[in-house]
Amino acid sequence: MTEPMTLAATEAASPGPFEPKIVAFLCNWCSYAGADKAGAAQIPCPDNVRVIRIMCSGRVEPEFVLQAFRLGADGVLILACHAGDCHYKEGNYRAIQRHRLLLQMLEQFGIDQQRCRLDFVAASEGEKYVRVLTETVEAIRTLGPLGLGPPEAAAAPGPV
């Protein structure tokens, strides 16, 4: 599938490497702890990713992802506990289910599925955390800007 190349996108692509803005939802118990682990190990990591802490990946409403795109994010990451490790037993399974459906919807909206990645990072996996972030940044850098901002339209909260 192809995305419309907006004016902003062409502009951003020309002067230097495009720096995507990525929002990451991290569950408190595994993935956020994994990110902290990457910090403690001082593993260099792209600065494009802004983390929002939630208690469980099961908390991620599809609305969160859509809203992130509306507010100017070029990509969204959802990081969850590995299967069987969820602090709340099965929240990560809900995240998987919702993510699958959401990808179909994104496709209908003309948003490349690579822009919304779900992955699993354990509390011990600082290195994996950095790897997933780096891969995601590179993938979205290749895709270019989504260009759904500017925030005027998004500033007014949409129907919830």
């Binding site: 260099p44 600065d47 802004r50 908390r59 809203q67 507010l71 929240g91 925030p151 919830v160």
Partner: protein, 653 residues
């Protein structure tokens, strides 16, 4: 909103990469920010003192602290806020250490990212609600279901701590299964000797007044929740007054009616009024009414006439429904054995002389059907005994797991058979040999060194076939190398997988704690909280949770008591964490999607309202319901959509 922002340098490890002047200058343009203060080590004692004084002086409406991970530090600063009279939930931490300074090599980029995260925290904290921890009066009494080793130990621990305990036991006796075993692995101590002191404490000990024992009883209904359960117990009639009876046994001697003794798996008979086995406790007979002549229209009164105590035998006894209050419930109902008739080739139930391990325990017991003597149905001692391990275990057609107990008792059997029948041959047919434990292997080694004991490893239990010909048995087998053969064995003992208790379905429905895929009671967490169910306030002890040995069961009984004592502590109310889900009743259509995704059964639909209702005590605050609600009628406190959206908007600017 007047928000105070604190930037912590963390001894320079943050400021090495993040330029606080630039961050403060960015924040200065934000109308929500009242002030930006910096500190060298905000989490140090001096730092906390500074924070306390500064908050007292400036009285901000909201606080943002940019420092290390909230997982490390949030609780510390929440306490400081509480001390100065600020709502601790009016705090948001921006993690500019692990998530910025320590992973971003370029200082300019690190500074820009730190600014964004602090901006997000400021935007979010303005929408934080003044959440309050609620306190609830609780009942500190406990209902323990099951009086085996786990339940007895739990009850005793709680009673010793001064708690009132109702001990509910389905059978007429205490002690569970091991009290019926002659000897226990690995040290060959006798089962009753191990448990009688515990039962003695429960029945007559210093703290026995704290324990109400209800035998022949089952929990039939549970209402309420952690801290305030209302438990309905159905008690079947015993027809003998447990207080008046002196345990002399005159009634048993006088009784003319007999019935199969289910405590010996029907291997012998007992009187209609009887004790299940010699030495069983409480030492009070019970009358199995179905077997009594009175149930068949005769006016037999021989037992009552023989009884020396007026009113101890009571024909007018009847089933009772008893109501008890409890703050917590401990489930310790034990396990069952895999149904061996599901492996018909092994001959259980169709070929005489084939026994399950539990039946064999009774054959070995001196208070069992043969007085502890190993005898074939024709009365002669067996010349050869085959012990089949892994019956229904490690097998995808039956139970996939290893119970971890059977090999140990199989080698105990080896030891006891050898002691009693020195000339006999013993065969072990096994799929895997598993003898965990620091002492248990000795029994296995002992059997391995015995010249009259042989080992046969099979690959598939379907390759074993037990047949009776001319009064003795043969077992046809195929070993793992594919070689077929035949073993002579007069007696065959099957060691079946331990499976979830037969009562699990009924009891788990009453308790609303669904069983796991194997039929055991499901634990909250396999390692951290194996003695807790997924429902708060309902604890699990012993083999009802997973196959385990006596030591494991007793350990879990103590663990369950520990949970109760720390959770429902004396002199303390129950605190409810406010980070839970909350329902906007006007927006809820009652579709019940939220209830279906809640892992903790915290959401109900009271019939008078037909909308969702969250029990804050049971809710763990994961927020999955909030994500599932199609009408946004459920909000996750402290992680509400408007808060997340505000944070997102600010960090993306």
């Amino acid at each position: 909103m007047k928000t105070g922002v604190y930037l912590c340098a963390c001894g320079g490890t943050i400021t090495e990469k993040v330029n606080f002047e630039k961050v403060a200058a960015d924040l200065g343009k934000n109308p929500e920010v009242a002030y930006v203060h910096t500190a060298e080590f905000l989490c140090s004692e001096e730092g906390k003192q500074f924070l306390e004084q500064d908050l007292t002086e400036h009285r901000p409406e909201r606080v943002v602290i940019a420092a290390c991970s909230p997982r490390e530090i949030e609780g510390v600063f929440m306490q400081v806020m509480e001390r100065v009279g600020l709502n601790p939930y009016f705090l948001q931490i921006a993690n500019i250490r692990e998530h910025v300074a320590w992973i971003t090599p370029d200082p300019e980029r690190a500074t820009a990212k730190a600014s964004a995260l602090v901006r997000g925290a400021v935007a979010r904290v303005g929408l934080h609600q003044p959440l309050e921890r609620k306190e609830l009066d609780v009942c500190r009494d406990v209902v323990v279901v099951g009086a085996g080793p786990a339940g007895l130990k739990a009850a005793l621990c709680l009673a010793e701590a001064g708690r009132k305990v109702v001990l509910v036991e389905k059978t007429p006796v205490l002690g569970g299964m091991p009290v019926r075993y002659e000897e226990l692995f690995p040290n060959m101590e006798c089962g009753p000797c191990l448990l009688e002191p515990v039962m003695g404490e429960v029945l007559h000990g210093e703290h026995a007044h704290n324990i109400e024992i209800l035998t022949l009883s089952e929990v039939v209904e549970v209402k309420g929740y952690y801290g305030n359960f209302a438990v309905t117990i159905k008690q079947a009639p015993r027809y003998v007054d447990t207080v008046k009876c002196v345990g002399c046994g005159e009634c048993i001697a006088a009784c003319p009616a007999a019935t199969k003794n289910e405590f010996n798996y029907g291997l012998d008979e007992r009187k209609a009024i009887s004790l299940p086995f010699a030495g069983s406790l409480p030492n009070v007979p019970f009358l199995a009414f179905d077997a009594c002549l009175r149930a068949h229209g005769e006016d037999c009164q021989l037992c009552r006439a023989a009884c020396p105590v007026e009113g101890a035998v009571r024909y007018d006894d009847s089933a009772k429904l008893l109501e008890r209050s409890a703050g917590a419930i401990v489930v310790a109902v034990g396990s069952d054995l895999y149904d061996c008739t599901r492996l018909p080739a092994l001959g259980y139930g169709s070929v005489s002389g084939v026994y399950t391990s539990l039946e064999f325990e009774r054959l070995l017991a001196r208070n069992g059907p043969t007085g502890g003597e190993l005898r074939l149905p024709d009365g002669t001692p067996p010349k050869s005994v085959a012990i089949v391990h892994c019956v229904g275990s490690l097998d995808e057609h039956h139970q996939p797991y290893c119970s971890g107990v059977c090999c140990n008792y199989a080698f105990k059997f080896n030891h006891l058979v050898r002691k009693q029948l020195p000339e006999s041959r013993i065969h072990h047919l096994y799929k895997e040999l598993v003898t965990p434990g620091k002492e248990e292997f000795a029994l296995c080694r002992h059997a391995g060194h015995d010249p009259q004991t042989s080992f046969w490893r099979y690959g598939d239990i379907a390759d074993l076939q037990v047949a009776a010909e001319d009064g003795h048995h043969t077992i046809r087998y195929r070993d793992t190398a594919g070689t077929s053969g035949q073993i002579e064995a007069d007696m065959v003992i099957l060691c079946p997988a331990m499976v979830g208790p037969e009562s699990a379905g009924r009891l788990s429905a009453v308790l609303d704690t669904p069983p796991d895929q194997f039929g055991f009671f499901q634990e909250l967490h396999g390692k951290l909280d194996a003695a807790q169910s997924k429902v708060r306030g309902i604890y699990l002890a012993g083999a009802c949770q997973s196959p385990m040995d006596i030591r494991g069961a007793i350990g879990q009984g103590i663990a369950a008591a520990g949970y109760v004592l720390s959770g429902l502590a004396e002199g303390r109310k129950l605190t409810i964490d406010p980070i839970t889900a909350a329902v906007n009743e006007l927006a809820c259509s009652g579709c019940r999607v939220c209830g279906s995704v809640c892992p903790y059964k915290a959401i109900s639909f009271p019939p008078d309202k037909q909308v969702a209702s969250v029990n804050a005590l049971l809710c763990h605050g994961c927020g999955t319901c909030g994500a599932a609600c199609p009408a946004a009628a459920i909000q996750a406190h402290h992680f509400a959509s408007p808060q997340i959206f505000a944070e997102m908007e600010a960090i993306l600017q």
